[in-house]
């Protein structure tokens, strides 16, 4: 057997979070620990951590009329030299990929506060997809490990 390049290990985690913005810190800690255990390159881990933070924060803040009792499911997988994230929620139908990118060339006074998180998510990942399935939003994202 040839020794594989790099030291990262394949594996997955699934986390179910109450739809409360205070839970994001726990999510971030779990994703970082997962990344470290699977020896993801630091840059890749940083990107996946931030992309998941943005996706989940968005769902928690805007996905539900009443977030009490609601949850968001997050899966992270390392396989095939790729790290993948999946965020599933039963909130209102929303495809973040329809959010127009912010105008990065606008002068300070015209820069808008909205759309920054989605822009980061799309910029950090190689691929982001959205589907509505069984009355749930499913957002997937992936990044090659180099």
């Amino acid at each position: 057997m040839l020794k594989q390049e790099g030291a990262m290990h394949e594996g997955t985690i699934t986390v179910r979070l109450p739809a409360d913005v205070k839970e994001i810190e726990r999510l971030n800690r779990l994703v970082r620990q997962f990344g470290e255990l699977h020896e993801l390159p630091l840059r890749t881990l940083y990107g996946m951590n931030l992309a998941l933070d943005e996706a989940v924060t968005n769902v928690i803040l805007y996905g539900f009329d009443n977030p009490a009792g609601q949850e968001v499911k997050v899966c992270v997988e390392v396989a095939d030299s790729e790290v993948r994230g999946e965020v599933t929620d039963a909130g209102r139908e929303f495809n973040p990929l329809t959010v127009p990118p912010p105008n990065l060339a606008a002068p300070l006074e015209e820069r808008e506060l909205g759309g920054l998180g989605i822009h980061l998510l799309r910029s950090l990942m190689d691929k982001v997809t959205y589907r509505r399935e069984n009355a749930k939003n499913v957002l997937t994202m992936s990044k090659r490990i180099r």
Partner: protein, 117 residues
């Protein structure tokens, strides 16, 4: 997140550390906007010990930069780690905010001295 505050001459320096995220952005916003409200005119945010910033934290910088421009004050950010700087660049904030590599350059920029190359 921790914020340290010190005054160097007439420059107010805020040093921010650890994680600026959805759970800590309000505290940072209150602190930064508070310095503008009490009339500080030269504000240096040292991001050296800052490990992580998300869009909630980035929004605080944008809100502050807009307010600082309207009151005629100056804001400079310094010492961003490579990963934090990458996020600022990804969102285009390097075009609308003054970002310099070191604390010393930050002080020089606010004191109106031209940095010698």
């Amino acid at each position: 997140m921790q914020i340290q505050e010190e005054k160097i001459g007439d420059v107010l320096v805020l040093t921010i550390s650890e994680h600026l995220d959805s759970s800590t952005c309000n505290a940072f916003e209150n602190r930064l906007l508070g310095t503008i409200d009490r009339g500080e005119k030269k504000i240096l945010v040292n991001c050296g010990p800052l490990e992580y910033v998300n869009s909630a934290g980035l929004k605080v910088f944008l809100i502050a930069a807009k307010q600082i421009e309207t009151v005629g004050a100056k804001l400079v950010l310094c010492a961003l780690s490579p990963s934090v700087l990458m996020i600022f660049e990804m969102i285009g904030f390097n075009r609308i905010m003054k970002i310099v590599p070191t604390h010393e350059e930050g002080l020089r920029a606010l004191n109106g001295e031209v940095a010698t190359a």
